[in-house]
């Protein structure tokens, strides 16, 4: 008998299973759950984007594209970054990946060697940590705080830097908190990083989804930061294209060209159909994005008010499609809260601890759901809290 434990890579075997997964398994056992757990848009991909994909198939465009992606798409991405975020990138410094996820993987792998340190603000999306570990790096977490609206501060950053620090992950707008770093906050971060060799992985997958009038600002736009920033973005959240699996990365040529090396060996090229569709998304869909954003924005305001009215402190997130209310006042841990809520009211939300230790005491509530769905969920959570008090 083969003992597979001796065969598997130690790094892989030691990876912890995702904390969200445990909860989803639990939620799957309960029937007719009102879920507020999903991290993808409830909208369907706008029709003319889908049509462009279909059209490419009709024309028989079923081959690989260039490793870096369709040149039309890279050029469109270059124009898009300029138009939407005032970023100057030549199309040769942009390439197309399989979702933002691959772009994250490539960035970390291209930079982190054994023993290198990667700074990771938490709570945040759960993939950065394991990818860094696989690359042999050490993850140094920085806990963002409620009193700072879950932003990374210059002080916190400075305190975490060591001579081994090579990469800072900057995941804003943030999943799960919805926090946003505005220009003035990024200026402070840039002040700490300029003059160092620390690179920034700026995960801007939610860049199109910011609320309250101010558009997302990329750290690459701040003086002296473009040369030390790798921008990760994608089509999933902005254009409701999660299933098309398409993202992109932009950064300094010497790094991009090395990342492209990994991409071509591991992936070859990103899905061709998706790339044809994405050209239309970037070129013609600003209006559709605005419309979806308007819907998210209403739901966001509705939920923030609802949670605060229930007595669960909820800061007003300015991005993504999550609210992150604090449940400490119930005296329960976030896991207990979620389990009890699930069993007594059949409402599923994600325990904040799944996104890093500092998420404990909070829950993530997704508003990628219809208003009716959210209203029903809110009603049940309110009942749940009233019953808890009794």
């Amino acid at each position: 008998m083969i003992d597979y434990n001796n065969i598997l890579s130690e790094k892989v075997a030691n990876l912890k299973p995702s904390g969200i997964r445990k909860f989803f398994d639990l939620a799957a056992e309960v029937k007719d759950v009102i879920a507020l757990t999903i991290g993808e848009p409830d909208f369907k991909t706008p029709w003319h984007i889908r049509e462009a994909g279909i059209d490419s198939l009709k024309k028989g465009r079923t081959w690989y594209t260039a490793n870096a992606g369709l040149i039309e798409l890279r050029e469109e991405a270059s124009k898009y970054l300029k138009r939407r975020f005032n970023l100057e990138y030549d199309s040769k410094d942009i390439f197309i990946t399989v979702g933002g996820s691959e772009a994250i993987d490539l960035t970390i792998r291209a930079i982190i060697d054994n023993g290198d340190e990667m700074l990771l603000p938490i709570p945040s999306f759960v993939c950065y940590d394991p990818i860094c570990r696989l690359a042999g790096g050490k993850v140094v977490t920085i806990e963002t705080k409620r009193e700072n609206d879950f932003r990374l501060t210059a002080e916190e950053l400075r305190a975490a830097i060591t001579p081994k620090t090579k990469l800072l992950v900057l995941p804003f707008p943030n999943n799960p908190t919805g926090a946003v770093m505005r220009r003035e906050h990024l200026e402070e971060i840039a002040e700490v990083l300029r003059g160092t060799d620390i690179m920034v992985l700026s995960d801007e997958i939610y860049a199109e989804l910011t609320y309250g009038g101010e558009r997302h600002v990329s750290i690459a736009e701040i003086d002296g930061m473009k040369e030390r920033t790798i921008i990760v973005n994608g089509f999933s959240k902005a254009y409701a294209m999660t299933g098309w699996r398409l993202g992109y990365v932009a950064g300094p040529s010497p790094i991009i060209s090395q990342m492209l090396k990994i991409h071509q060996y591991a992936i070859m090229s990103s899905p061709t159909t998706s790339q044809y569709a994405a050209v239309v998304a970037m070129r013609d869909c600003d209006k559709e994005v605005e419309e979806m954003k308007k819907q998210y924005d209403m739901r966001r305001r509705f939920l923030v008010k609802a949670f605060n009215d229930m007595g669960l402190d909820c800061f007003t997130p300015e991005g993504a499609f999550y609210v992150f209310p604090c449940i400490k006042s119930t005296g329960l841990s976030s896991e207990e809260f979620c389990e009890k809520l699930l069993h007594s009211k059949k409402v599923a939300v994600v325990p904040g601890g799944a996104f890093g230790s500092s998420g404990e005491g909070f829950v993530r509530v997704s508003y990628s759901y219809s208003l009716d769905h959210l209203m029903e969920a809110v009603k049940r959570i309110k009942e749940f809290l009233e019953e808890l008090e009794r």
């Binding site: 995702s18 969200i20 997964r21 409830d42 509705f302 923030v304």
Partner: protein, 161 residues
């Protein structure tokens, strides 16, 4: 304020407090805006969208194409007023079609019911020169609502996302 109308069009049961949260406008302003819309007849009324087929399987709807002969001192407005007064008429539109003038939506308890209404009430009007009755066989979507039991959320939970 466009957004306020859109929200109410989707769900007229939203109260001022909910609308205020959704739109980021004070409750007072919401109440004032709605009162004005009502006064100006921008908002004509609020009705429930009833799926009558579930109540009565014979319930039916027809769209009737009416051709009319307007005369001097008795034009489309006067003809419309005459047609409108029937309670059976749910909707009445003057159309730009070359083949007919009015589109009349009528609901009844049976095909026969509606046919009789057309024959006895509409066809007999002096100004009506011809009628063509089109019965609705199946309704799929009305006023933005789909008429099938429930749209399922097909999204799946990933282990991470």
């Amino acid at each position: 304020m466009d957004q306020l109308l859109k929200l109410l069009e989707q769900n007229a049961k939203l109260n001022d407090e909910q609308l205020s949260a959704l739109l980021g406008i004070s409750e007072e302003e919401i109440a004032k805006a709605i009162a004005e819309y009502e006064k100006d007849r921008v908002i004509l009324g609020y009705n429930a969208l009833v799926n009558w087929e579930k109540v009565d399987p014979n319930d039916c709807t027809a769209i009737i194409e009416l051709k009319v002969q307007p005369k001097r001192d008795y034009g489309y407005e006067e003809i419309a007023a005459e047609i409108m007064r029937f309670d059976e008429v749910e909707t009445l539109w003057l159309m730009s079609s070359s083949s007919y003038d009015f589109s009349v939506v009528v609901r009844g308890h049976s095909f026969r019911d509606i046919s009789m209404f057309v024959a006895k009430r509409l066809a007999t009007l002096d100004s009506v020169t011809s009628t063509a009755t089109n019965f609705v066989l199946k309704r799929y979507k009305e006023n933005y609502f789909t008429i099938i039991d429930e749209v399922k959320d097909e999204r799946r939970h990933l282990n991470i996302d």
